[in-house]
Amino acid sequence: MDNHFELGLGELRQKLLLMASRAETAVNDSVQALMQRNFDLAAKVREDDDIIDQFEIDIDDLAIQLLTRAPLASNLRLVTVAMKVSQNLERIGDEATKIARRARDLAQEPPVKISLDLPRLAGMALAMVKDAMDAFVQRDSAAARALVPRDKDVDVLNREIHAALARHMMEQPDTIARCLHWIVAAKSLERIADHAKSIAEEVVYLCEAQDIRHHLKKAGAAPAE
């Protein structure tokens, strides 16, 4: 491809990084709003989601423009992966919005007196998003592969939080509505980790042209040629 094409690829990478930064901020802010009962911060997260949505549209537009130039090999993989990564980032933004909505509702209710490891869950999910994007920037397939199993740890912690909240609801039925908000928020963090894992799988495809989604490799299924 010519220099204009390379410039287009550079612009695509740049937009993805800006979008990822926005998505990470949204998740961080939504968790802060939840933990600190910050109504205004929750509202800001919801407003800013439009910016993340616009990034997805812009990245798709740019990717389609680049596809009309019929890229091949690593260029083709980069463009197709960019579209999938942006979709995952957009969904991470949606999950942050869901957490912010729960934060808004909880901020208007009395606090639930229960010790939850939600900050650790948020830290694990956010670290996965950051590490997945770092692997994308550095085209580090090994780092991306190493990230995939961390999703299991997030699942385990989410189940623990869910169980703790279920016990609390049985013991204090008057907190059920508020506990359900916390369950939904924890589930959103678990989904964010799922999206980070999907991004890591796309990075593996970008680097190695190997599709490791859905445990294809574990099952020994050969990719179609």
């Binding site: 091949l72 090999a73 993989r77």
Partner: protein, 272 residues
């Protein structure tokens, strides 16, 4: 002159990571020299039967010479010399007792620029090879004309003007006429040297559709500068560079995940 023995449809290739199941053309250690200049260097490749193999590479990489070596056309250059072996369904096409004209009957060629005989009609162009081989039966010639034009997806467009001059056809139609002419002598392999490079997108699409259709019955080898055409039309792709075969494999793999850096650089436009 000794006729080549019959094709061996069950001939198999060596076990390799990406081979076609049956080899129509088996090339071993092929080098071709024009004078002292080596245009092809020690090329070994198995070209799958009833599949489309695209030959890609920058200008001067030897891809057209490779194509021409499969029907001994390169020998038209008096300075040409070859080493190695090319077998067509097991038959050594460079054996001393094999005439080039017999090879060319089994291995047809379509060129970059359509080249119908300008003084002949559409039908005469199709049957010229048969008539040169002594076929005089009008029914046979008419039947082969229709069959070849149908295979070349041109019949419906010309059936009412078979005796019109060939040069009255459009560029794309002329190229399909040349394909019909090549098919009329019932070759086993069809070589195409940039068959759509001079055509508009619509005519190009017709040629590409035709190539995909023809592979049901023929082994097709196509030289192209157009990566997208290779990606659209071929099952296997071979990348040549400076006379060497750098990489050969299924087209999807070559265009999504080439194993060699030189292939990656070429298909992404970083050189060539």
């Amino acid at each position: 002159m000794t006729a080549l023995i019959q094709p061996m449809p069950n001939a198999t290739v060596e076990t390799k990571p990406d081979p076609a199941p049956v080899a129509a053309v088996t090339v071993r250690g092929l080098s071709i020299f024009f004078g002292n200049h080596a245009v092809l260097k020690n090329v070994t490749i198995d070209i799958g039967a009833r599949a489309v193999t695209a030959i890609i590479g920058p200008s001067g990489c030897g891809k057209s010479t490779f194509l021409r070596s499969i029907n001994r056309m390169h020998e038209l250059n008096p300075d040409a010399r070859m080493e190695g072996e090319i077998r067509l369904f097991g038959d050594d096409i460079y054996s001393r007792d094999v005439e080039p004209v017999v090879v060319r009957r089994r291995v047809g060629m379509v060129f970059q620029k359509s080249n119908p005989f300008p003084t002949m009609s559409i039908a005469e162009n199709v049957t010229v090879g048969l008539r040169l081989n002594g076929e005089r039966n009008k029914k046979t010639l008419a039947a082969r004309t229709e069959e070849s034009l149908r295979m070349a997806a041109l019949w419906d467009e010309v059936k009412d003007r078979l005796h019109a001059p060939a040069i009255s056809l459009s560029g794309g139609q002329q190229q399909r006429l040349c394909i019909a002419r090549a098919l009329a002598v019932q070759p086993e392999v069809l070589l195409m040297d940039e068959p759509a490079s001079a055509l508009d997108p619509l005519a190009t699409q017709k040629i590409e559709d035709l190539i995909i259709e023809l592979k049901k019955d023929y082994t097709i080898v196509i030289v192209t500068h157009n990566m997208q055409q290779a990606a659209r039309s071929s099952d296997f792709t071979a990348f040549f560079y400076l006379g060497e075969l750098v990489e050969f494999g299924p087209t999807t793999r070559i265009f999504t995940n080439p194993a060699q850096k030189r292939t990656e650089d070429y298909v992404t436009g970083r050189f060539g």
